[in-house]
């Protein structure tokens, strides 16, 4: 449920990028930040650990503006993908409005994608929320590696592995090149609109 402050008339939309370690969640946010920081005028907060792995989360907030008397603010979060940081993942998921599942296209990580999705399902269940009801977008990342002859999973395979039942909108993407990063983000924000409208009513 979005956080709505009736006094200050502020609406916070919380989007979480979820997915296996090294899938490209942080890179999604970094692209958005690098390309648009002049326009969105905020800072990105990244808590990193050993090397460039995410320890707690990345956080990138920005204002959409005042609409119908409400200040609409979007908060993008990433979770740490490494298996051992499950408690942080749970924490970050609290109060989430929409989820981008960043899957890694590399053939060698096929299983990890599925395990991470299962982990998402379980962690949402912990908050009594259903993965089938929450706004969700699938992103199949790193397709640029096809150019380099790296064995990749096709979008069809990924759809079959991850999205057969969920039937969420899906995009192939290259976070590192920015391909479909913005599209993914817009899509997930728009998917949260009906619920937020419901709350405002």
């Amino acid at each position: 449920m979005a956080f709505i402050n009736p006094k200050t008339r502020e609406v916070q939309i919380k989007i979480v990028y979820y997915g296996p370690g090294r899938g490209g969640k942080t890179t999604n946010l970094e692209y958005i930040y690098k390309k648009f920081n002049e326009r969105i005028k905020t800072e990105m907060v990244s808590l990193k650990t050993h090397g460039d792995r995410t320890l707690f989360f990345d956080f990138l907030p920005f204002d959409v503006g005042r609409i119908m008397g409400y200040d609409i603010r979007v908060q993008l979060y990433t979770v740490p993908g490494q298996v051992k940081y499950d408690s942080t993942r749970k924490l970050v998921l609290r109060g989430v409005d929409g989820i981008v599942f960043v899957a890694d296209c590399m053939a060698i990580v096929r299983k990890k994608n599925m395990l991470s999705l299962k982990n998402l399902y379980e962690n949402l269940s912990g908050y009594n929320r259903s993965i089938f009801k929450i706004p969700l977008v699938m992103q199949y990342n790193k397709i640029d590696l096809a150019d380099e002859g790296i064995p990749l999973l096709s979008p069809q395979t990924l759809d079959r592995d991850l999205n057969a039942q969920l039937k969420a909108p899906s995009f192939v993407a290259s976070a590192i090149k920015g391909y479909n990063v913005i599209k993914t983000m817009k899509k997930i924000i728009m998917l949260t609109m009906p619920t937020i409208q419901g709350q405002l009513r």
Binding site: R39, I72, M185, M193, I196
Partner: protein
């Protein structure tokens, strides 16, 4: 809010997002183009395999992924028997691979970065992207510097582990003796690489 306002909110948010981030379809994001010119190196099949190996290690360090890399590097070394610069670059990668294999998650934070960087050099030199011998030597020296810097860091780390056994032992599953072995191994390896480098420089000078 009324029903109409509800729709308006969604439309308006969409409009604002377009204003902020541009219309996604026209924001200059282009699909990676399979036909676009690439590093000559990455098109050469054995190098591509090595690259895939490195990516998989970057993703997860297991005995299996590293064994895959070491095997490919060994093949590559045979393919490039006659190219000294390539030989040294590969040797550095093998050393790094073995070090990462032993230390796994405890490996120095920079070791993957150096491995990738040396590979980038190898891609240029072995892939035919760089042909000028001076430029090749320049690349080699640059990668050697990175390798040396890492070696110094690793040596410093293993020294620390010996002087502060309690804390370090808790962090690292390796015994002081194992760490000493690794340091010794790296030093031996490094000496080999440096010897190669000197010989190569000598040959270069003789040719001039």
């Amino acid at each position: 809010m009324t029903e109409k306002n509800d729709r308006d909110l969604s439309v308006e948010v969409g409009r604002r997002l377009d204003n902020l981030f541009g219309d996604a379809d026209a924001s200059g994001e282009k699909a990676p183009d399979a036909d676009s010119p690439q590093d000559a190196g990455t098109n050469y099949y054995p190098l591509r395999v090595v690259k895939a190996n490195i990516l998989s290690i970057d993703w997860e360090i297991t005995d299996e992924t590293i064994a895959g890399l070491l095997k490919q590097l060994d093949l590559l070394r045979k393919t490039y028997r006659d190219d000294k610069v390539v030989q040294i670059l590969i040797q550095m990668m093998i050393s790094l691979g073995k070090y990462i294999k032993v230390r796994k998650g405890q490996a120095n934070v920079h070791s993957m970065k150096v491995l990738k960087s040396v590979f980038a050099g190898l891609e240029k030199v072995a892939g035919g992207g760089v042909e000028d011998p001076d430029r090749k030597m320049e690349i080699l020296r640059e990668k050697m510097r990175e390798f040396h810097a890492l070696q110094a860091r690793v040596a410093a780390e293993s020294g620390k582990a010996r002087s502060a056994p309690d804390r370090e032992a808790a962090v690292s599953a390796l015994s002081a003796e194992e760490l000493r072995q690794i340091a010794r191994y790296l030093a031996d390896d490094l000496r080999r690489v440096i010897r190669e480098e000197l010989r190569l420089l000598g040959e270069e000078l003789r040719r001039r």
